[in-house]
Amino acid sequence: MKLCSPFIFLTFLFFSLDLCSQNFIAEYHYHYQKNNSPVAFSKNAFLSVNSQYSLFEIKNDDYKGYTTEKLIDPKSGEEVVVFKSNKSRFVYKDLRSKTLINKEKILLDEFATLDSLNIFKWELLADEQSTILGFICKKAKLRYRGRNYIAYYCPDIPCQNGPFKFHGLPGLIMEIQTTDEDLNFFIRIKRFDISTKNLTIENPYVNEKKIYTWDEYTDMYRMKYNEYNSYSNGNDNKSIGLPKGKIEIIIND
């Protein structure tokens, strides 16, 4: 009697590739700054992973409500008001259903949005490598929702996970950055700790009233983009505008 048919073995192998054999927590430095903006969002972030779930958390102060900060744009000399939400940000991944939930924004409104983990079409560049935190890492390229990225992943940490939404490389993503000129966006690992204890990961979106799909969110974004941009066409020198996207470009020319 055969113990295991080749089909069952291959199926098991396929599904186990995405499951990390050990729990771990990785600390990253997250940086986002549009090149025409005097404001940078630069924070520490933590990726917690167990065999079923992962949570990428960008720590913030978690005050209730918004706060404002005034600064002078050094390029224009103009006063700028920065409207801060002060909320922590989470990307929650369910590795079994290959889905994630993230809070997407339209101006200041937030929408918990369900997305797939099967959206990354990586190109592996196995010949190029770098050493990060003592691990030998390999390079990969990605074209994802309107932007180009390069990433370094670690095959010695066989977990197809990474910071923010990024996922699907044959090893933990240690570093990723866009090569686009309009945006300085990178996430770099600072620390990696294997956890021998149980690592419980709770869904931060469990009490959300509504979870939108990515398509629903982008439909709303396009509608608001057209609506707000119409405010900018008058002669009253007021403009309210949505960008074509942030990390993910939603409005394609």
Binding site: Y32, Q33, K34, S37, P38, V39, A40, F41, Y63, K64, G65, Y66, T67, T68, E69, K70, L71, I72, D73, S76, G77, E78, E79, V80, V81, V82, F83, K84, S85, K105, L107, L108, D109, E110, N237, K238, S239, I240, G241, P243, K246
Partner: protein, 81 residues
């Protein structure tokens, strides 16, 4: 000098109108009062522009800045969740 002080006080008052907590940076720079038009911009914490208002209707730059800040305040109240 009086003008600068007045603008600084007004920027404090305007900021106070829509903030739970306010961190006020440097007051208005000399370069900021070079022309009569006045632009005020609000960005989110990622740096993306939410609203931008430019006012040129008054001869006095200070009055234009007051109008621009009032208008910006109005927009932010509308947008705030």
């Amino acid at each position: 000098m009086k003008k600068l002080f007045l603008m600084f006080v007004m920027s404090l008052m305007t900021a106070g109108a829509f903030a739970n907590e306010i961190i006020v940076s440097e007051p208005v720079l000399e370069a900021d009062i070079a022309s009569n038009c006045c632009r005020r911009t609000a960005r989110d914490e990622d740096g993306d522009v939410l609203v931008s208002v430019t006012v040129c209707t008054e001869d006095n730059r200070l009055a234009n800045c007051m109008k621009a800040e009032e208008e910006l305040d109005r927009w932010l109240r509308l947008l705030a969740p």
